[in-house]
Amino acid sequence: MPNHQINPNTWIDLYSDYLYNYTITRVSDKEVAQDLVQDTFLAGLKSMKNFKGEASERTWLISILKRKIIDHYRKINSNKGKAEVRINYKDDETEGDWLEERVADPYDKTAEDTMQNSELGEAIYNCLDKLPKKQAEIFKMKTIQGFETEVICNELNITASNLWVIIHRARTAMASCLKENWF
């Protein structure tokens, strides 16, 4: 018996930010990430009949997105791309430079940092999922996207004092959730 239902009408509101954050930590290009997320939703819609309801909608969409990301890297690592890299080391003057360039830099923790950021990002989104929809939306706009108070108030038609009450509730819940799951 399936435990989870599928409803593509709610996908953008519920999962687009989560999928985008998942993608951007893996492809590091804003536009490519947006395209991959969009492709994921469209592919999900096409293969809706394959959804068995054993996993959550989000997990199912992530499995599609993972394949999209792999396809993206396959595409950019085509033969043409490899040949371009080799050409860089055909020059006599720079012969041997590749050795130096390929020595691991002990101070470069980029990969490790990215992995930790990605896990932390997922923990933050898991906590955001537990907030009421409006609270999560306002918290994201204010804290992650850095919108001005006035812009949010105009966009959502709320007063500044109302915004601060919502932010206060969201921050209290987020701090407590992250304390439980991350710190």
Binding site: P8, N9, W11, I12, S16, D17, Y20, N21, I24, T25, Q34, V37, Q38, F41, L42, L45, K46, N117, L120, G121, I124, Y125, K140, M141, K142, T143, I144, Q145, T149, E155, W164, I167, H168, R171, T172, M174, A175, S176, L178, K179, W182, F183
Partner: protein
């Protein structure tokens, strides 16, 4: 009616200022009042500590969100595809 104090603020007011301070939206005067409250109130101190930790964590995570306009376009595209699938 209770007279509002010039320097001493309530715990709720201190927490509100603390929230605003996380977004650099607290005035200097508000920050002074918050500092006074922090010097003697344990609850405010705990809230301040957790709140600052939350800001730091989110900043360090470099977590990202979709641009609202991009989200609107995505929604439009998906709605169109849903409609086509139904038809």
């Amino acid at each position: 009616m209770k007279k509002k104090s010039f320097l001493f603020i309530s715990c709720e007011e201190a927490q509100l200022i603390c929230d605003k301070a996380q977004y650099n939206e607290a005035s200097l005067w508000e920050k002074i009042k918050l500092s006074i409250r922090l010097s003697y109130c344990k609850i405010t101190k705990t809230y301040y500590k957790n709140n600052t930790m939350l800001t730091k964590t989110i900043k360090e995570s470099k977590v990202k969100c979709l641009d609202p306009n991009c989200k609107k376009n995505m929604k439009k595209e998906l709605d169109k595809a849903i409609k086509e699938q139904v038809d």
